[in-house]
């Protein structure tokens, strides 16, 4: 028993620092954004001219950018929350989905933009333009002003995913991991056993790329 506890303590000592390092992966990037009262709406814009550049352009590396021309659709899903600075409970949420597919015959890009204000379908000639439409965040309505009280400090939190994969698809892809060995006479292990399994185990990510972004704190000043 003592040996088992010692082994676990050693294991914990090894694991916890690793876990702390990996936890940094989830830390959001702080970006300066511009917030504007537009009618009854609060809108925001990112700024790609800052250093480092703001916005979500870095979602596309070279591979993802070239994939826009493969004829297979690419999708960007942007989840936005406005929350009080010291709270995780949002006062407003917004979902934006933008997809693009390349027409190999007409050599044009068709984009479908689902965002506040409704769905739009547009066509552009060049891949760079398609990228702009996929990643531009300019004067995007995110909340009604009445849910953003004056003089209270808020932040905007944003999670941006490139080609997110549904949980059902992820489940299907990794299903073979839990399908057992085909079963001999060793019935007990299948129902009660624990596992140690070694193999080349590529992981299918929840999305091709994920960005977590947070704005600087902001507030609505009294008129």
């Amino acid at each position: 028993m003592r040996r088992a506890v010692t082994a676990l303590a050693v294991l914990a000592a090894l694991v916890i620092p690793t876990a702390t390092a990996h936890a940094d992966d989830d830390k959001p990037e702080i970006q300066r954004m511009r917030f504007v009262e537009s009618g009854a709406q609060l809108t925001f814009s990112t700024d790609p001219t800052t250093v480092p550049p703001g916005g979500i352009g870095k979602l596309f590396d070279t591979t993802a950018y070239e994939a826009l021309s493969t004829g297979i659709p690419s999708t960007v899903v942007i989840r936005i929350q406005i929350a009080p600075r010291d709270s995780d409970t949002p006062v407003a949420e917004q979902l934006i989905q933008r997809s693009v597919v390349y027409d190999v015959w007409d050599e044009i890009y068709t984009l479908r933009l689902d965002q506040p204000g409704g769905r739009k379908t547009i066509k552009v000639k060049y891949r760079a333009e398609a990228l702009k439409w996929l990643t531009a965040l300019d004067d995007v309505p995110v909340a009604r002003l009445d849910v953003v009280p004056i003089d209270q400090v808020f932040v905007l939190k944003m999670v941006v995913e490139l080609n997110p994969v549904s949980k059902q698809t992820l489940t299907e892809v990794r299903r073979w991991l839990s399908q057992g060995n085909g079963g001999g006479l060793d019935r007990g292990g299948a129902f009660f056993g624990s596992f140690v399994s070694v193999f080349y185990n590529p992981k299918i990510a929840d999305a091709d790329r994920v960005l977590r972004i947070r704005s600087q704190p902001f507030y609505r000043p009294a008129p």
Binding site: A4, A7, A12, V15, A21, H22, D25, D26, M33, V36, S38, G39, S45, G71, I72, P73, V101, D103, V104, W105, R112, T121, I122, K123, V124, A130, A136, D138, V153, V165, Q168, T169, L170, T171, E172, V173, W176, S178, N181, G182, G184, L185, G188, G189, F192, S194, V196, S197, F199, Y200, N201, P202, K203, I204, D206, Q216, P217, F218, P221, A222
Partner: protein, 506 residues
């Protein structure tokens, strides 16, 4: 339109008074936002709008879902490249699209095709692209795969307990010669214990399965197992003896994927048991009485023939580090003289586990219920062993009992808990805490630390019919606890737990 400036911006600009507490006083006033039109199809100032083409409108009828857009294409051919070992036909069969299909270029099937091929488990990456076909509107789909190693170490057995030591491994190849056929096998050796009449034990197993017969939802497989064992039985108190036996059997069956998450299985088992049983074995009870011991085996050579049916539904998004979903497994097996066996019996086993995500799926609470019932004259090895239900004991490996350690008596219920029973199971409540999750680019994808506790029980039929002690004292149940760490890595999956360590060392 009023500019709603960042808190710091308001201070710098001297507009609208002082910012609330906590504002960053050094931030600059933001630049004016680039102008993006509300309706990009009509505003010439929008990015890219100058090159935007007129939208000719969507096709009249969506073919599969209302979010489809883009041109309608017809698949002229599908080219598969990059596969050096895996047969092309196996990849083609996995695709949800085929030559002749007409669909929108944004069709879900095109998007899912990559994952259908990845789900075979033979590739580390799959990319798809589309190029022009021979006629306008026709396209050729290019599927490029990057193969991966498919050798799997399924299980390792090692440890030392009352049996001085044991060692074994189970390995498999999931894509034999690129045919999509899975083969595997395991071997284990256990040095003999100090029990009277004990001998060295070994067992081996060979398996083969075809995960998809002819590209259908059916799969087929078989396994052959040889066990050269030495089975302990109790003669008084904790004192035990052993008797030798030999099992040789084969199991073959088929499964049908009702859906991506639900599977039905059916099978047959034929097994020969050769046991040298002690003459009139007896056991001395704590009160001095001597009773006959039923070893649940026919002396000499006997035969077990069974038919089985099983159901499996697994909705866990991540089977290695689950934080949501659940899994239900139920199996029933019937052995009968009508099938040619010497034992008439039936078993029903089930396992249910469910995970509730907490705190945004960073934590998870789960329950795990597992157990079964054995009815009739079941052979010893088909009964429920105590290590099947008490997670703090060494589990059986390829049918071998590796340790004769007694379970920890935590509740103070009856001390002479049976080694085998007709009714048994366990109930576990477990709390898992996410240590970290990677995005799939690091070598360690994720890890959880978990704490669990539960109740296990194992009873023989006589225990249920009569007892000579108080209810609590007579109940063959007890507690178990466990804690440990689970890793999901690019070289496999690992679970390191206190209970597992106890099983290897006690």
């Amino acid at each position: 339109m009023f500019a709603l400036v960042a808190v710091v911006a308001a201070r710098s600009a001297g507009a609208h008074g002082a910012p609330p507490d906590g504002a960053d006083p050094d931030s600059p006033v933001p630049e004016p936002a680039p102008q993006v039109p509300d309706d990009p199809t009509v505003d010439p100032g929008a990015p890219g709008a100058g090159a935007a083409l007129d939208d000719p409108g969507e096709p009249d009828e969506p073919l599969h879902e209302d979010t489809e857009f883009g041109p309608v294409i017809q698949i002229e051919a599908i080219n598969v490249t990059g596969n050096t070992a895996t047969q092309t036909e196996i990849i083609r069969r996995a695709l949800p699209i085929g030559p002749g299909d007409t669909l929108h270029s944004s069709d879900r099937r095109l998007r899912d095709a990559r994952f259908k091929v990845l789900a075979l488990g033979y590739f580390r990456d799959v990319t798809l692209s589309v190029r022009k076909g021979s006629q306008r509107g026709q396209v050729i789909v290019e599927v490029h795969v990057a193969e991966r190693g498919t050798l799997v170490l399924n299980r390792l057995w090692f440890g030392t307990a009352l049996s001085p030591w044991w060692l074994g491994a189970d390995v498999g190849e999931r894509n034999l010669l690129g045919l999509g056929v899975s083969v595997g096998g395991g071997v284990i050796f256990a040095h003999h214990t100090d029990l009277p009449d004990a001998r060295d034990q070994y067992a081996m197993e060979l398996r083969i399965s075809v995960p998809s017969v002819g590209g259908s939802e059916w799969s087929a497989g078989g396994a052959a197992t040889l066990v050269h064992g030495s089975e302990p039985y109790r003669v008084s108190g904790m004192s035990q003896r052993s008797f030798p036996y030999r099992r040789f059997g084969a199991r073959f069956g088929a499964t049908y994927d009702v859906s991506a998450l639900t599977r039905l299985a059916m099978g047959m088992r034929v097994e020969s048991i050769s046991a040298t049983l002690p003459v009139a074995p007896t056991r001395e009870l704590a009160d001095g009485r001597v009773v006959a011991v039923d070893l649940h085996l026919d002396p000499g050579v006997s035969r077990v023939v069974t038919a089985s049916l099983a159901f499996d539904r697994d909705t866990r998004a991540d089977p290695i580090l689950p934080h949501a979903g659940g899994r239900l497994q139920v199996s029933a097996e019937l052995g009968s003289a009508l099938l040619g066996g010497n034992y008439d019996f039936a078993t029903i086993f089930g396992r249910y586990e469910h995970y509730w995500p907490l705190f945004g799926e960073r934590h998870a609470l789960s329950i795990k219920l597992g157990g079964g019932v054995v009815v009739g004259d079941a052979p010893l090895f088909d009964r429920i062993h105590i290590a099947d239900v008490d997670h703090m004991l060494t589990p059986r490996a390829l049918g071998l009992v590796l340790s004769t350690a007694a379970p920890l008596a935590i509740l103070g219920t009856r001390g002479d808990k049976p080694n085998y029973g007709d009714l048994g199971g366990s109930a576990t409540v477990e709390y898992a805490l996410q240590l970290f999750r990677g995005a799939g680019q690091r070598r360690i994808y994720g890890a959880d630390v978990f704490f669990g506790a539960g109740l296990w029980g194992l009873a023989e039929r006589p225990d249920l019919r009569s007892r000579d002690a108080g209810l609590v004292a007579a109940l063959p149940i007890d507690l178990f606890g466990d804690a440990g760490v689970r890793f999901d890595t690019d070289i496999g999956t690992f679970e390191l737990t206190i209970a597992n360590a106890l099983g290897r060392l006690r």
